[in-house]
Symmetry: C3
Subunit: 327 residues, 3 copies
Amino acid sequence: MNVRTDFPVQFDQNGNLRHFLTIKGLPAETLTGILDIAHSFIDFGKREIKKIPLMRGKTVVNLFFEPSTRTRTTFEIAAKRLSADVVNMNAERMSTTKGESILDTVRTLEAMHTDMFVVRDRESGAAHLIASHLPEHVRVINAGDGRHAHPTQAMLDMFTIRQHKAEFPSLRVAIVGDILHSRVARSQIHALNILGAPEIRVIGPRTLIPTDIETMGVTYVNNMKNGLEDIDVIMMLRIQRERMDGQLIPSEQEYFNRYGLTEEALRFARPDAIVMHPGPINRGLEIASSVADGNRSVILDQVTNGIAVRMSIMAHLMGGQEKSKWN
Amino acid sequence: MNVRTDFPVQFDQNGNLRHFLTIKGLPAETLTGILDIAHSFIDFGKREIKKIPLMRGKTVVNLFFEPSTRTRTTFEIAAKRLSADVVNMNAERMSTTKGESILDTVRTLEAMHTDMFVVRDRESGAAHLIASHLPEHVRVINAGDGRHAHPTQAMLDMFTIRQHKAEFPSLRVAIVGDILHSRVARSQIHALNILGAPEIRVIGPRTLIPTDIETMGVTYVNNMKNGLEDIDVIMMLRIQRERMDGQLIPSEQEYFNRYGLTEEALRFARPDAIVMHPGPINRGLEIASSVADGNRSVILDQVTNGIAVRMSIMAHLMGGQEKSKWN
Amino acid sequence: MNVRTDFPVQFDQNGNLRHFLTIKGLPAETLTGILDIAHSFIDFGKREIKKIPLMRGKTVVNLFFEPSTRTRTTFEIAAKRLSADVVNMNAERMSTTKGESILDTVRTLEAMHTDMFVVRDRESGAAHLIASHLPEHVRVINAGDGRHAHPTQAMLDMFTIRQHKAEFPSLRVAIVGDILHSRVARSQIHALNILGAPEIRVIGPRTLIPTDIETMGVTYVNNMKNGLEDIDVIMMLRIQRERMDGQLIPSEQEYFNRYGLTEEALRFARPDAIVMHPGPINRGLEIASSVADGNRSVILDQVTNGIAVRMSIMAHLMGGQEKSKWN
């Protein structure tokens, strides 16, 4: 698939957000608007009745070409709390048909008057491809496409940072791990840049860092000691165990010793630094259990915020940008 | 399973439609009644809130012994738009138990006070068998059983024809492809006959046509040129690629050359002929991409109509035959 | 997992039922209270609109580490009739991580503000482990854990007995089959003892009876003739065909001859004895078809009651103990 993946397809002709495909290129006000509305959904999650009629009678299709129970569940819960009807489809991607089957599937579903697609695929560009071929009124959310982007994850990370820390222009942030294969890291870097974080460092073995990483406005540091110095926010990435083939990473133990976030490593950062992870965590591989469960960890806050942020994004796309509508 | 598959089990003692198992033997008024009500559900699909309380508090079980994400999804969406609770069951059929397990499963589900079963099975007669063994108030819809019938598909096809064409008594219809293995074709032929289509032709290689096809009230033609002459409606069938073993069909390319619906073949039909296909389509096998996506194709209309027609059938079975109830 | 499985974690500090993990140790009033409320849900199942708003806006997660379509469906239907949003998760249990992954999964789901977990696992103690690690307000129901307990099954059995028979203190009950591997039998024995059944007999081949069975307050009898004498309630267990390896059971035919519930065997019991089975039944293995379908069988009543009893348990856990709330 040869699809442009950073372009105005996200907006309609009036400049309203239509799809949520990538954070790259979004104005800061759009991000801030989503975070503000998400804030109102946080209290909502603690209510007796966690249900508002914002998407009542709308049909949301979770179209997952790559299985991910966890992410699928967060979108399912978010949509149901907005009163939408949710249809889960774990579609098999037929690689031989070169993207054609994906479009036939989507056109068919759209013909059933579905209103929103949440798309996950192991290839970059799937959500963009789909969004480019759907009529005006249908919305698409990218729930992770290949190595490209995972924008809702990055938004919930930004929300969590804002919840625990000062404003972005005063924050130093480190992203640690396998940047090369991480759609999460790409989306995080875009979001942090747009929101004005003055210093973003990426830390990890050279083999797991894209060669042109500096062009994204970040600094590469090859060890935890220097990398975490003066850092306010530590964003750990999940290591895929299948990378552990001796080529990119020597061994689990050596990786943990050099780049795992242990109590010792945590001391390099600021004493009030927060620890984040998109989950699911590999205890003893990229993070020590005591740190993951410790008082600096905001990992479970990220999960909670994930529902609120996804509700906010869905609400924005459905045209309910005025906060008054759901308060 | 030795079950009669064309009989009054579809009606209760007052002559009301109780199950929707096969089109064979239904009176024309029943078909027309379903199509009329489906019409009111078409606009409904474009509404802001696509939800009516007709089946609120009812439980619909999608009992699929043969996997079919697409068909299951249409029934799921239709039932949810009627406000029913939907439970999806991808049951494994234990062939060794000779149908007994299927009945134990169904009796168990019925004991949970479920109200409707949507049944799909790769053997003919499954939906009939189930309907014959359930108490009075439970409804069964056949979502495709073996080579026997796929009556809701045929009904949405009839709806689509009525939407685009004159009345049935003035229409010439061609069904093209693998008639032998097609439950869709069987149901289409019954429906067209009942609604009064004066001429139905089946086109395809002799090896894919039942030997007694003329007894169904259709004419067999072995080539597209003669078969499509003066035709108003072209109904393509999906070719199962597993038939391509060199015995029934020589090769994909040869099949496409002789029976594929290309731009050239389309010219044999009337200039305003419509092109239909139950989906999913095999581009370049039974139909050319340009025809499938062309302005004569009503394939996506079929999908849209499929929701409305299934809602109408469900509404009829639930006893809501009076149109006033859901307008 | 080394977890205590019979302890006060089921209650909060005010003595209200918080989780439903095991019947062992519950007071008789708790069981009776659940059965009383379930009674009001029985009529409810026959209503036109089978839906009450008791759990509206609550999120129930069906967390099944062992697949069980049937049990999952009953909980799904029960929760939906209480108006809850239901999320089904067929989670794979990673045995290598020794329970750690299960807790990370559950903590993650809890962080999404889910309200109730229905847990099924092939290892004993899973539901207890989860309940011990969740915050105060989250509820856990054990839907079967290893050989340990299946308390909702036992409760629906008690309901069914009460529906058809005199009070428990006058009843003689026999449990027949593979007691050794049966979580159902363990929970039934606890419930019958708590409710005051004066005589409980277990019947089966010695190889399928725990050696210390008498300590549970039951009598072992090795044949149907003596075992069923004067019995009011016969509770059959399902035989797992995988036990049929010639070690524990000689052959299917011999098992059926000696311990199958045939018409002949049934004559040993009281003439008004009822026949129960948790399903799915193995016809011709542990029970004859004529008995399973006969007029003494209450097997389908058990299924119907299963929905009402599970609704009652969910309602109790959500704090709606006062009957007035849902009448």
